[in-house]
Symmetry: D2
Subunit: 142 residues, 4 copies
């Protein structure tokens, strides 16, 4: 439990996450929530693969975008929801391994718009991690 | 059948698509392949939803990115594979409806890099379409 | 003169453009204004060059971003000003020639945000044009 | 002098910078060069202004893009040159003050492509700095 994070905000994020069918389809889960920082992960496997067995860019995007969105939501007024305005991803290494981990971070919170970044790592069976993608984008309260 | 598209290229695209576990997980299919232009679609439903029942940005991204990638692949030499270098999406309307359709297009083919765009529409039960997202990115032969 | 464009809007765009020191520094001018579409140009020369004598990516960006911003402003309520939220450019060919031309277009006007694209061409001394850059971004009323 | 940076690379960066007419037009200078990190700055004034007297997004882009490009060049083999493949900028605060400072950083060097980020600050007359823009993009050896 994160003592500095409002309990209502944490519940709002967990509730929203649980209502996202795609997160369940991808097997994603919330690993950590802190003010302005949210970590999500999903298992790399056939359900999220591209043609070489690595995680598909679409699965990488879904995880990084969601981590960034919930990071933004964690700093918004209670009762807010969040939408992605735009998101850009640079894919820097194949997402090979057993688990994909996304850390979303708020770079600039705002009443009208929030600027966010996210980092994605692929973790192998021994727990060593390799950076696979970098995100930069804009979130808006809905 | 597209008479101006090399049969080997079309088979390579269909084969690659069939090996992408995520496309199957999302229920995506290939609607059309032409030189430099590929159309994909997927049914909007609980498996790809965000918290309001619209298609999740991650599902939108996966479809648009794949359409753009296969459009690039359609102009590459036989035997090529394609990877996303980077992709940016602007989400312009909620992806509400029954079907999501992505048209990927090559703006500038290249030996080293291809610049691509994609357009996403959500189609309702009556068949009317609304533009929901615009993509611009870079593909590289693998 | 464009009869379908509000005269006040056209004056607002021309006035704003004239107050942008950088446009004057770069030698840029307004070539055309229509609702949702603005064309700007600048002479390619030593003042805007990179190390090979082509127009610098920074000059290309300034022209494309401004064309896109004024295109967005042309559809905003009278008295508005416009700011770039974010902009992405793909550079697809060297900006070699005598003149750089930017067409900015509104893809999705909005009360809160407008999604824009721009295309850049380099024109040679004979008047033939080559596409050099593609932009996609977001504008906000200020 | 940076003892860990190859002297030839530093000279190549300074030589390339000096041949960029736009950097001279904007009054930009190199503040620091280290392996994978380059800092540039320019005075905020009428020559680079937008309609409110702040630095124009085009000037911000030119500085951030150049800092990122030279950061990439600092890790490339001697004799290389560098081109921007694509660049995305999020503008997060008005570039108000007396000086604009850009730090370019290599996130992932590569033989074929380098992924870069840059941060821009506006500095006021008292020397206090405010973050104004975040960049993420791709560089390629020319």
């Amino acid at each position: 439990m994160n003592t500095s994070l409002d309990q209502g905000i944490e519940q709002a994020i967990r509730g929203s996450f649980d209502r996202q069918g795609l997160m369940s389809t991808l097997g994603a889960r919330i690993d950590a929530i802190a003010p302005g920082r949210v970590t999500l992960s999903l298992p790399i496997g056939p359900a999220v693969s591209q043609q070489h067995g690595f995680a598909h860019a679409g699965a990488s995007f879904a995880l990084g975008d969601s981590a960034a969105g919930y990071a933004a939501l964690s700093l918004m007024p209670p009762g807010s929801e969040v939408l992605t305005v735009e998101m850009k991803v640079n894919l820097i290494a194949p997402a090979a391994g057993v688990r994909l981990i996304a850390l979303g971070e708020v770079m600039k919170p705002g009443r009208r718009l929030s600027v966010v970044r996210a980092t994605l790592w692929a973790e192998d069976a021994e727990g060593s991690r390799r950076e696979t993608a970098l995100f930069q984008g804009t979130m808006i309260p809905a």
